[in-house]
Every structure is written in C-alpha cells, then in structure tokens.
Symmetry: C2
Subunit: 513 residues, 2 copies
Amino acid sequence: MKGHEGPGAAAPGHDGGLATEPAREPSAGAGLDPDDWSEFRALAHRMVDDVIEGMRTVRDRPVWQSVPADVLARLREAVPETAIGLDAAYDEFLRDIIRYPRGNTHPRFWGWVNGSGAPAGVLADFLASAMNPSVGGFENAATLVEEQVLDWLKAMLGYERCWSAVLTSGCSMSNLVALAVARSARAPVDIRRLGVAAAPRPLLAYASTEAHSSVQKAIELLGLGTEALRLIPVDRSFRLDVAALERAIASDRRAGGQPIVVIGNAGTVNTGAIDDLDRLADVCTSEGLWLHVDGAFGALAWLCPELRPQLRGLQRADSLAFDLHKWMYLPYDVGCVFVRDADAHRRTFSTTPTYLSGMRAGPASYGSSFADLGIELTRRFRALKVWMALKAHGVAGFERSIRDNVRQAARLASRIEASADLELAAPVALNVVCFRFVGEGGTAEELDRLNREVLVRLQTSGVAMPSHSVIGGSFVIRVAITNHRSRDDDFDALVVDVCRLGRELQTAYSQQP
Amino acid sequence: MKGHEGPGAAAPGHDGGLATEPAREPSAGAGLDPDDWSEFRALAHRMVDDVIEGMRTVRDRPVWQSVPADVLARLREAVPETAIGLDAAYDEFLRDIIRYPRGNTHPRFWGWVNGSGAPAGVLADFLASAMNPSVGGFENAATLVEEQVLDWLKAMLGYERCWSAVLTSGCSMSNLVALAVARSARAPVDIRRLGVAAAPRPLLAYASTEAHSSVQKAIELLGLGTEALRLIPVDRSFRLDVAALERAIASDRRAGGQPIVVIGNAGTVNTGAIDDLDRLADVCTSEGLWLHVDGAFGALAWLCPELRPQLRGLQRADSLAFDLHKWMYLPYDVGCVFVRDADAHRRTFSTTPTYLSGMRAGPASYGSSFADLGIELTRRFRALKVWMALKAHGVAGFERSIRDNVRQAARLASRIEASADLELAAPVALNVVCFRFVGEGGTAEELDRLNREVLVRLQTSGVAMPSHSVIGGSFVIRVAITNHRSRDDDFDALVVDVCRLGRELQTAYSQQP
C-alpha cells in the first residue's frame, strides 16, 4: 500500500487527479482513502488472519511480558511528518505493539476487574467503526440499536422498561451520571441554575469504606467535596453496616446536614461483597434518600437465578451503574446506567428543549437525544457489540459464562482452604478470591514482603496475572474472574505456582543472614 | 457458525468437553469463543469484504434514508434468550442496520460537525478491540502508544512536551476535565475536599454567546450553576467581544464574585468563528484567570501554516480541548485535552498517591495512571487509531485534507455570494458555511419556513446532509466540512439543488391561496 499521497495541497481540488484513476474508484483521489482499494482489502484480510490466529492461540503465549528497551525507544520517537503507508504502519504494529498486551484476553488473566473480550464483540466493534455514527439520537439504525439494547438490558436485569437508560464508557461515567441526577433530584434548590452553594445545608452522600474510587471522584467533580461523602464501616463480610449508616444519617441531620444519596455496592472491587440492597432500600425509603447501586460487575450476576437472592433489592434502587466490558466479556468500552425517574434524568442533562427539535422529517425529526441523558454529546456506536453478542450467544450464553466464573471462584476458594500453605483473606461472595501464602508463617511484614514477591514473580513470568489488594492491613493476592476463557486447570496451576514460589521464597528468606 | 453452545451449566467445567475437541484448538469449549475458528475466520473475511466494498462505493448510495416500519419493528423486538449464532446475527445486521446509517461517511454529509472516518482508523479500531486493553496505565504497549500520540499531538499543535495530556471520548469530556482543573487550580479553597460551597465568593466563568452547550453542561456538572457562566456578546464576525468581557469581569468583581476562568472558542459550532485568543490570553494574564480554549475542530487548523495567524495565542491557553474524530477524520471516539500545569491536572483527579504504586516489577510498576488525569478509569485503546493513521498518512496527509476542506468552504461561500438566489449568513472563517435561499424574498417567517423545507427535502432525498442553525434570528442551512471524501462537485451539486428546491417551493407557496 502506498502512502495515500493523493493530490497535493496546491492542486485545484480532488477533481484534478481523476483523469489518471480507474473509473471503478468513485472516491479515489481522496487523500485519506486508499489509492488502491484492492491493496487495502488485502491488508485488512491479513489483519483478520493475524488477529484471529492470535485469539485462537492466546493460551500458548505468556499472559504478559515486559516491553524491551528497543521497543520502548521506538514508541517514544517523534511524530511522523510524512506518510509511511498503512502496510508499513501495520508491520510496526506487529513488531512493537501487539506482542506487548495488557494481557486481559488471556485465560489466566484475573487482575483488577478486566474483561476478556468476546470475539463476537470484536467483530461488531469493527463494523461499528466502519459505520462510524456519532450516536447522539436522530433517526438511523445506531440510535434504534442503542434503544433496543437498553430495553434488553433492563429486561435482563429485571427492570421496568419505563426506566431511563443510556450507554456510557464505563462505571466511572455511570456513577457520575447517576449521582448528578441524584444531586439535582434531591437538592432543595435548582442545582443546575444556582449551583451547589445555593443549597441551604451541606448535601451529603453515604457509601461503605469498600466503595470504588470512582464514587469519590464523582462526589468531588459534582462540587460536593470529599468530606460530604460519609464512609460507613463494613461487617466481616465487607458489607455496609446498615445500623451504622442509620446512625450516621441521624447524626448528620442533627448537625444540620442534608443527606441526599446512599451508594450501595453490588460486588465490591476488593472482595466482590454485595451490600444488603433490600435493607439499604428500606433505609432510603424511610429517609427520603436516593439509592444508587454501583453494580460494576456484580449486577450481571442477576442473569443466574441461583445468585439472585444475594442481589435482593437490586430493582428497588433509584439508579444502577454496571459495565458490559467486565462480566459480560465485551470489548472496551461499554457501560450502562439506569435511572428510575426518567424525567429527573432528562432534567439533569438536557440542553435541548423539546419544542426546539422542530424538523418535520429527516434524521433530526426523530425523538430524543442521548446527549440529554448524560455528559457525552459525541458517542461511539457502543451498542452494536451488545446487540450482536446477545443475538449470537443469547442471554443464556452469558448466563453460562458468569455461572462458570462463580463456580470457578468457589472451587479456587476450596483449594485454598484445603491447602496448609494458603489462607483465604475474605469470604467469596461471587467471583473475587483474595488469599495469601502463609506456609511456615512469619511476622506481618515478612508475609507482606513474601506475598508481594510471589505476585511479582507470577506476573513477570507470564504464567498468570492476578492483582493485589490490602485486606485487614495485609497484602493479599486477588483473583477477579471475569474471564470466559479460564478453565479449572488454570486455577489449579495458579495454586501450584503460588505454593511453589511461596515455599522457595520462604526458604530463601530464612537462609538470609 | 453454531450458537456457541459450549458446555452446559451443569457440566463440571470446561474440562468436561476437551476429549471431543481437536488438539489444535486450545481454548475450544469456552462458550463465548467460537466452536469452530475456521467458520469464525470465514465470517470475519466476509465482513471485511462487505465493509470495504461499502466504503469504496459509499458515493453511489443515498447519504441517508428513513428507517422503514418493518426494520423499526424488528429493532424493537425483545431480548434474545437463546443463541442464533454469529452468522445469523450478521445477516440481521446486513438487513436491518448497515443500510440505515447516520450518513457521515458519505462525501455529501456536512451536518453538525461529524467526521468522515478514515479507513486506516477503522482497521486500527478493529485491532484495538482485538487487543482489548483497558488503558489505565501500567506497562504495556497500549499505555506507551497513548503516551506517544499525546506527545505527537502536542508537537503537531505547537505545545511543549511538558504539558499534561490525556485522550477522552470527545470535547464534552475534554471541556469538563479542563474546567474541573481550572476550578481546583483557581479556587481559593480545597475544592476537592470541601466542595464548591466552601468558596467565600461565587466562582465565575466567562464564554461567548456562541460557546458550545457542553461548556454549560460542564459548569452545571461542576456544581457552579448556569448563572455562574457569564455569556459575553460577540462581534459581527461572531467572535467574543473582548471589551465586553473586561467590563463583565470588572463588574462581577465589584459585585463580590470571583472570576476564575475564560473559555475561548477556536471554531464555534455555529459559524466556525475563532475568538481573538491572543487578546483573551492578555486579559487572563492580567486578571489572573485560567484560559481554556474549546478547539473541538478549529484547533486542528494549526496544521496548516497559512491558517495559524487566525489561531494566534492558541498556545497561551492554560488548557485546550479538541477532537480527532472531527477534523482529523478518525472513527469515533477520540478527543484530547491538554493542560499546561501538569501538577494541577493530576491534583484534580488523582486517587492514587504516588507512594502507593509500590510493585518492584510487573505491569503495575510502570509510572503514572491515565485515570489520574481524568474521569474515566476504564479507557478503550483509542490511541491506536491515532498512531496508525499518523504513521500511514503522516501529519502531511491530515494537513492536506484540512486545507482542502477550508478551500472548499471558501469556494462554496464564493458560489453563494455569486448567486442572486442565495445569501451568506455569516463570514466563513474556516470550514463552516451558513447560508439561506432568498430568491424572490419574503417575510422573515416565509423565508424561515422555506429554508426549513429546503433542508428537509435535501436530507430526505438522500442527496446531501447539511444541518441547520439560527443566526441573527433566521433559520439557515449550515455546511460544516470535516469530510475527507467531499469533492468540489459535491458542493456544486448542493448549490444547484438548494436553488432548484428554493425556486420550486417559492413558486408553490406563491400559488397557495
């Protein structure tokens, strides 16, 4: 493929080049379109072969490897002023980029809470980029597909169709959108017009100490201030202590504050704990507060009927945030937010008075705009991968993978409990397993140092990619299973490797002077 | 392709199915991966052929068409509980979705400010979805590529490398991020901790009446309130009246307010006007205010040396927001924000104290996190399409297309001015042309009605897709050229069609009783 040189800057427009081009190429001559569509097509087919072979054989490669110095140097070179062509750019991609992935498509990646990327979603993302709509509303298939998948997601999670919903880039955004609506809906003044300072009393929010950092970021961004986010202690299962919440609300009211929202967790990032949503809903009902549920991955457990009792009360929330690129395994990015009060949702964000839409026909004559339901005006066609993956696999396909991950977590927890060398650090509610190597034991500092080193060696060897957390003051290895490629023997290999590394290190440390 | 049935829920894990599968399929049995990779590959190749043929021949199709009732009905069907398989899902995509696009990949789409989607970017987006990193930082190629393209973009726009920068989903997010930093940096209290209400005096922002709605949304979201956004009048070229700005700041200070930020436009959404950034920078320097520039599309004009005088002062801003899916023609979504004060940027968003990174090796040992520079924690690999397109085409390739769009806008304006039937509604600074049909003339209401109908007929006929605006109280047809596929004859066809439709309608209206 050539460098797409096209007509020069001084040429009198694209027409100038037409005479030398074949008649079958209606858009040839446009500088950023290929000069030769056959070459472009051949390259695209090569990419498909390379990428799919990579997906098929991912298990044979290390989960992760460090980026070598020569690659690092090339990825710090200056901006290319002149074209090298797409073929050459792809060669550089193969040399410098695809070999050094984050690792989360690998069956033994369980770090943080990253999804594994279902192949149907990857192809759908390609189709979405090719269609390239900005999904702001307007009559076209992308708008309709987003509306459809939002209705599907509501049905899948047991919500009424009349709820308002919008796709986002993930739960950081979904939490922010939901809390913005809560702020507008529950403040006693017109927050949009007058701002937070107009509230006669400080507006307060409540979440457990296990809440995700994005909740804090949202509260800060909304101008409420970190101090307005009251962090309530958790019980031994890492669930919000509801009695402590009630005491905090009462105390804050006495002190002149105005509680407006409680944020519950459906699957905490550290341990996967699920707050007692039903009791939180009771408290919010009696106190007149907004209940927002951060269900980043945990909300999807609703797809498995046997897990629903843990999520009881989920549909009593006023808003729900969850991701589809975590426990629905879709490629990044796609998250979602539901809001019960559709009017409050729109009133928080709309800058388009309904009476102004005004076209009798054409694309702009179609209904409402997604920009009126969130922060983004420009929006990628995220809905297509949801649509295509749900068509291809059915809800049942996702239910099976989620159930399997929960079973794998329980199975891993059993292995850990059965091992004399390992210690489970927290109850396993869903798909997150926190544990550490203990072996011959040692001081708190010794065990922290040892487990930190076990984790580094696991990660850098490319064998497996758990991440870590700190639970009860101890450094623990954390396995978050949102991976449709993991097999039981992957977890068995993890247990074997942690025990082997732990014993080796314990021996080595004991022999140090 | 089958429905990816995989092992049933009751099966004892994926291992159960291994005996019946060929040895060459290491991850077979995983329910969301294909049962048969060859079938999956064949389907992917079909998609590539279909999509590329669609790109090549886009000119031969209508820009837009209404979605028929039967398609609409199918796009409102209930969630698929069981799998139909990816082949069948793709057939439905071909029937119901790809035929009804928004239209912005078409050479005669000039509505709103939508990009045209450079093919190199489409392929890069496919590769990004296949790699599927969450680009939060950590040592892997995606982090390095984002760092590299941020440095490239700074170099391209004449900024110092020491500026802080991050990719976003678009300018709504970039404006919000930048204004959040401005709020933190210029408020006299710790806004993150104490919130907006702790400021002793109302925090005020200034923008012209032509500012984009996302600026208002950001101010509202930040808890400052719409009333804190002072809208300053514009001159006859739709540029912010700097003397009026100075008077407003002085008056607000006397009234006890605290001005903190001025938002300048580099390319307004209505007419493409560029504020006098140099004078705004002078005012901000002398008043101690933060200067944010919303350069959604206009900032990219810097790539053309002959356009730089219009943007003089661009690099004196404290922050800049711009998009790459508009005037850099890349597929949705990719925007960017620059911040001069890197510490202030990080202090606004960071929830990761540096001392906590703490791993001696492995992915988490690598430097800082993009989440510390914005709202999103989960971030798609947006950088890859920027990287690949800049490699393939060079900066020079984009410079050429931008220059061509500016030339086309000037040429269209000349045709409009040369036509007795048409009227230019605003000066053409860059790539936005607003005009209307006047013909035999008429009352303000008659001309509004007529131009509205001309636009609807243009759009619904599929011939061209301008959008509209209201300028000086009049409904105008608005052509925003961020399209690398447009040719001069496309604009000639537009002029011809507007004149034809205008005359037909004027005649028809004059014959009505």
